[in-house]
């Protein structure tokens, strides 16, 4: 594979390219007659993007704005009536429901999945890149094979397995399969990042008498920090938004996570749409904060492995 193929997964990151401009003049290309075609005005593209903005924006408007309306008002005046008399009452009601518990459950599941994936994927990727053992490369092929396994296809045996293990209806029943299914891509992303570390660095450490463990802590971890962030975010998104495993492997409201909880709210609140929307906004909030703070890492995490 070419060097482009082993590039870091941050390629799609927005804002990445402009940040690296040289200091010779602020925007070197501006004003030049020759430049990439997108530098000049593009009316067709702009119009198309505007149309898509409406298609994306309208549902998002109906997510945020009606969540601030009183239910009776929404139902009586219709979805398009101007939003006056806005209230945060829906949010208060949601916070008094079972929502906080679902929220905490989701946080536990997410943190546990990220911890498991990082703890298992990093040593595995390190071994895949550095080991000379045949068994390790065989293991890597097995992992690659696993990429093609859709979770839906194994959900029935997983149900049997989890039930037999006595884990049914526990948070672990969600955590373990979710982490397992995040592993292949995580290992691939970490592997391609570790391949970029020059072999001389490892050799220098070996000459100093450092073993594999010390090389992991003083070389591998510091050098793969951004790949670790990518993997962490990718896994966290999978866990936070996961639906199938909680749906099939849990039942009680004490272990319910947000995605299922929202679905449950729809049945529970019936026509109280603003209340449901408020719950959805609250469930989205942590991701929104991460998006605002670290959009680059978040987007890289989302496209982990496919950006190459």
């Amino acid at each position: 594979m070419s060097s482009a193929a082993t590039g870091t997964p941050e390629i799609p990151a927005a804002g990445h390219v402009p940040a690296r401009r040289p200091a010779d003049g602020r925007r070197p290309r501006r004003g030049k007659a020759i430049g990439p075609w997108w530098k000049r005005m593009n009316f067709v593209g702009g119009l198309g993007a505007a149309v898509w903005l409406v298609i994306v924006g309208v549902p998002l408007y109906f997510l945020f704005v009606p969540s601030l309306r009183v239910s009776a008002d929404y139902l009586a005046k219709g979805p398009l009536s101007p939003p006056n008399n806005l209230t945060v009452g829906n949010y208060a009601t949601i916070m008094r429901s079972e929502f906080p518990r679902y929220f905490v459950n989701t946080i536990i599941v997410t943190l546990a999945c990220v911890a498991i994936v990082l703890a298992l994927a990093l040593p595995a990727a390190y071994a895949i890149v550095r080991s000379r053992k045949k068994s390790v490369s065989t293991a890597f092929s097995v992992i690659l094979l696993g990429l093609a396994v859709p979770a839906q296809a194994v959900i029935l045996p997983l149900y049997l397995l989890i039930t037999k293990a006595g884990l049914y209806d526990t948070l672990l029943a969600i955590i373990l399969p979710t982490a397992a299914f995040a592993l292949p891509l995580s290992i691939i992303v970490l592997t391609s990042s570790l391949r970029d570390v020059p072999a001389e660095l490892y050799e220098a450490m070996n000459l100093d008498g450092a073993g594999a463990t010390r090389a992991l802590f003083s070389l591998v971890i510091p050098l793969s920090r951004s790949a670790l962030a990518t993997v962490g975010i990718f896994t966290a998104m999978q866990a936070w938004n996961g639906f199938l495993f909680p749906l099939v492997l849990t039942q009680s409201s004490s272990v319910r996570v947000l995605t299922l909880g929202l679905w449950d709210f729809q049945g529970q609140f019936g026509q109280n749409v603003p209340l449901l929307l408020a719950a959805m906004v609250l469930a989205l909030l942590p991701l929104l904060v991460v998006y605002l703070v670290g959009r680059r890492y978040l987007l890289a995490g989302l496209t982990a492995g496919s950006g190459k």
């Binding site: 390629i11 040593p123 390190y126 995605t259 929104l288």
Partner: protein, 300 residues
């Protein structure tokens, strides 16, 4: 990469033990179930008592199940239409958003927002929009010839609602892929084209699209393989209905196994899903030569 200098080749290097926990963990929860599901497809299993071996009975039932043909057909149509619609929008949009400028980066930040939402949340949001009594559908419906505003309750329209919501969910992701790939195209190609006097549309068709070949394949594989596993959107939005109008294969499997508690037969459907999924991705990577794709950047 290789270090030929050391005499003790494996010294100071991590061994299999380092990879073992990940392999075991992944094996137990993803690989082992692949084999178990094949076993389950030969059993009678109702989720309460243990599976009982019944031979090929479930597999014989497959031929007699009229819903399988229907669900496969729906999955196939949904896959093809999703691929067409999503590529047609995501590719040009991604190329456009790859450009620089404040407007585009603000636009991109807004357009990528759906990426944050779970499939469940997206489906719930759209089901409030599609609500024939109180949703946007009640306002828009009469304007476009659906007098009662009941889109998802209509067997011939529900499928297109699903198509729309799935596109809404996944287009931002593929746009992101195309944006990243477009940014990686060397600007020298465009400079040469401009000297040759090629205008924008020509540059798009003669440089951008050919340079995006790998991404078109990657994104296409993800769309096609992913479309076999569309699940929560449809479960929440339509539940597979009305009737069986949107009951695609994974949903048929879920309803059979976890609502009808015929997990033996549901395993047959799961094996089918597994077989279709893996052979599709194998076929695509074979046909397109995806594995040996390094040649694209030749001569640069």
């Amino acid at each position: 990469m290789s270090s030929r200098t050391q005499s003790s080749v494996q010294a100071g290097r991590p061994g299999f033990v380092w990879a073992a926990p990940a392999i075991v963990f992944f094996g137990v929860f993803a690989l082992l179930p692949m084999f178990v599901v094949v076993y389950l497809s030969f059993t009678s299993y109702n989720a309460i008592s243990d599976p009982v071996w019944i031979g090929v009975k479930n597999w014989k039932h497959l031929a007699a199940d009229p819903l399988v043909g229907n669900s496969l057909r729906l999955s196939a149509i949904l896959t093809v239409l999703s691929w067409l619609v999503q590529t047609a929008i995501a590719l040009p949009l991604g190329v456009y958003l790859a450009g620089k400028g404040r407007t585009r980066s603000v636009l991109a930040a807004a357009l990528f927002l759906p990426l944050l939402m779970s499939g469940a949340a997206i489906a719930l949001l759209w089901s409030t929009l599609f609500d024939p009594n109180f949703g946007l559908a009640s306002v828009v419906g009469p304007l476009i010839g659906v007098a009662n505003g009941n889109f998802i309750g209509n067997p011939s329209l529900a499928f297109y609602c699903v198509l729309l919501v799935i596109a809404w969910q996944f287009i931002p992701f593929h746009t992101l892929l195309y944006q990243g790939a477009t940014r990686a195209i060397p600007t020298s190609l465009y400079e040469a084209a401009m000297i040759d006097g090629a205008e924008r549309f020509k540059q798009f068709t003669l440089i951008t699209v050919p340079q995006l070949r790998d991404t078109i394949i990657t994104s296409g594989v993800l769309m096609i393989v992913g479309s076999l596993t569309y699940f929560e959107i449809i479960l929440i939005l339509t539940g597979g209905g009305p009737g069986t109008a949107t009951r695609i294969l994974p949903l048929h499997m879920y309803i059979t196994g976890f609502r009808g508690f015929d997990m033996g037969y549901a395993s047959v459907l799961a094996v089918l899903l597994l077989a279709v999924g893996t052979s599709l991705s194998l076929l695509i990577t074979k046909v397109t030569g995806y594995r040996k794709m390094a040649s694209q950047k030749e001569g640069l």
